[in-house]
Amino acid sequence: MPLANHHTSVPVLVDEEKCIADKGCTVCIDVCPLDVLWIDETTGKAHMKYDECWYCMPCEADCPTDAVTVNIPYLLR
């Protein structure tokens, strides 16, 4: 059963200019109940890795630098 790659537009955006993950911050990653935010290996900043979001907003509310924006997932918009 071969697998295909399937692309999806994710609802949560991280402003890499503002993100201080390089200083050791992992707040958004820690608080997400669905564990969908991870450090992007290439940039060292937080990003949404899995499109499995409840748009509940702790990531945005708790980010110390206001780097996170939670949008409504496209299917619901």
């Binding site: 109940p33 669905l34 702790p58 708790d62």
Partner: protein, 577 residues
């Protein structure tokens, strides 16, 4: 990997699920007996996990002296639930409800108070006054977290419990689970276990088709229900689904409790009220459903008649608390409460005692039918518990588990169970190719919507059950690429278990009851002769899903005249099928 390669962690009390009930349970064990070791294990992170991650708009079921009595509450819930309740369990909640509010208040949770500092209760129902708003309630999780730290409860975040363990005598003995970031298994041996894993919120599919757009926090995928079932515990009244009124396409509650006291209401397309039923119940949902499907549909939340000051107040509450992305959703569609009514719909189905009545059977001490295993919150069977009930039963279970653990001696783990589970946990990572969890999940939840959603039709549910069992055969094909996908794969196992339970429980009770929740088109009447009882669902000695009944315990509060008063407030005719 097998059990010899793993360290076994020992604790006195293990709490699974760190949302609402779980932290309260863990703290209570420590308050009762600081010498006991307590581990709180959570799939996400206790700081922001569970239904109340962003706070809550208010208490829906507060029994505050001077506004309502425990007896009155027990009576109303009994009637709203068509008589099928365990009154001693309801009474235990009702009596502890006010002391719990006082405790939370002392801890720093913000409830709405009037200008003299008294609780500012709101009348939403006609017979009693139960709603206590908490517009500044965002800090609930922070406060729980502070208590956990103060009592030095050991918190294990990012572990998914997957199976309960028993000793050779059949008592609870702990749990096995997996780290959701590394895929490493974990085994905990415990003298008592409290489950607080929340609702089974990922059985049905939201109308938007977005798998994670559920009413319930999607981390609550029914793992607790599945684990309890496999451990041999009784589940009760699973056919009494949860179906909630929601905004269309947005999983924010319709918030009758927020907007109601301020003059907002649920209306049909003509801006008219249509709901006759007074209490949030299956009866109310049936009316909602009928209006939705009728020529006067769809259904709306109407606020456009309110004053500017009131709308601002509503926006502040609804857009900062509980489901704060609501404002963004409305902006995206250019919906303004001042000018437009907001379209509403009904949620997908789920198991949730917080809002309805189904779950793992517990008595008034929080005990399940497995010795040493307790259950609290949305996953346990005490009806209409909501947030305050989760706290109260968290407390009750904490007390019971502390007592049980203190008495318990050596534990002999049943190794066979552990080996079996380790195999199940490794399989999705070891496969070279197979079905991604997302695809299988979508399929089974789509089947649930097509075949199990009420109105329920016997033949349709039978076909649904067949199709769900076919997906069960596919579970061995699940393929995970990483630890995260392994968590999703294990969740699919739970979802399939819950879907099968939903189908079988619904087929078992051959009557209609609880309004829309168990509305069987081909058994439209309520059959008090045969079905005035709880239904049981459990795993029998051969490993099959079996059913039975449990008599309704004698009432400790008689319904008396209020039954008639309540019926006056209900629908003129019963479900007119």
């Amino acid at each position: 990997m097998n059990i010899e390669d793993l360290t076994i962690i020992d604790t006195d009390v293990l709490v699974i699920g760190g949302g609402t009930a779980g932290p309260m349970a863990a703290v209570t064990v420590k308050e009762n007996n600081p010498k006991l070791d307590v581990i709180l294990l959570e799939k996400a992170n206790v700081k922001r996990s569970g239904a109340i991650s962003m706070g809550m708009d208010g208490l829906n079921n507060a029994i505050v002296p001077g506004h309502a009595t425990p007896e009155q509450y027990v009576r109303e819930i009994t009637i709203a639930n068509d008589g099928i309740v365990d009154q001693p369990a309801l009474m235990a909640y009702a009596q502890r409800s006010f002391p719990m509010i006082e405790k939370l208040d002392a801890w720093g949770v913000h409830f709405q108070k009037d200008e003299t500092g008294d609780y500012d209760m709101k009348k939403v129902h006609h017979l009693g006054t139960y709603v206590l708003p908490m517009p500044e309630g965002h800090n609930v999780k922070k406060i729980l977290y502070r208590r956990l730290r103060r009592h030095r409860v050991k918190v294990e975040n990012r572990y998914q419990a997957t199976r309960l363990l028993k000793d050779t005598e059949g008592n609870i003995a702990g749990m096995i689970g997996v780290n959701t970031r590394t895929g490493e298994p974990i085994i905990i041996r415990a003298k008592a276990v409290i489950m607080a894993t929340g609702a089974a919120g990922r059985i049905g599919l939201p109308h938007s088709g977005y798998l994670f757009g559920t009413y319930e926090n999607p981390a609550n995928s029914g793992d607790g229900h599945a684990m309890a079932y496999h451990a041999g515990a009784d589940l009760a009244n699973l056919e009494c689904y949860q179906v909630n009124p929601l905004l269309k396409d947005y999983n924010g509650p319709a918030c009758a409790y927020v907007t109601g006291p301020l003059g907002g209401f649920t209306s049909n397309a003509f801006g008219e009220r249509f709901i006759e039923c007074d209490y949030w119940s299956g009866q109310m949902m049936l009316e909602f459903f009928k209006e939705l499907e009728s020529g006067k549909g769809p259904v709306f939340l109407k606020l456009d008649h309110l004053a500017e000051e009131t709308i601002q107040e509503i926006e502040t509450v609804l857009h900062t608390n509980e489901r704060p992305s609501r404002g963004r959703f409305h902006d995206g569609r250019h919906t303004n409460y001042r000018q437009q009514m907001v379209e509403m719909h009904i949620s997908e189905i789920g198991f949730c005692s917080g809002h309805s009545a189904s779950g793992v059977w517990v008595d008034e001490t929080g005990a399940t039918t497995v010795p040493g295993l307790y259950g609290a919150g949305d996953m346990a069977s005490v009806p209409h518990n909501y947030m305050l009930g989760a706290f109260v039963y968290g407390q009750i279970c904490g007390e019971s588990a502390a007592a049980f653990a203190s008495e318990r001696g050596e534990i002999n783990l049943d190794r066979h169970l552990i080996d079996q589970e380790l195999v199940r946990l490794r399989a999705p990572l070891e496969r070279q190719d197979g079905i991604p969890p997302e695809q299988m999940e979508y399929k089974v939840r789509r089947l649930v919507n097509d075949y199990l959603q009420p109105p329920k039709v016997t033949r349709r549910m039978e076909i649904g059950l067949e199709r769900i069992l076919a997906v069960r055969e596919d579970l061995k094909l699940l393929k995970a690429n990483d630890a995260h996908e392994l968590m999703r794969a294990m969740e699919v196992h739970s979802i399939v278990d819950c879907a099968e339970m939903a189908a079988r429980a619904s087929l078992y009770r051959t009557e209609s009851r609880w309004g829309l929740y168990h509305y069987r088109v081909d058994h439209p009447d309520t059959d008090e002769q045969r079905w005035f009882c709880h239904s049981r669902l459990y795993k029998d000695d051969n490993g099959n899903m079996a059913h039975g009944t449990r008599p309704v315990a004698p009432y400790i509060v008689s319904l008396g005249e209020e039954k008639d008063a309540y019926n006056q407030l209900r629908v003129k005719q019963a479900a007119n099928a």
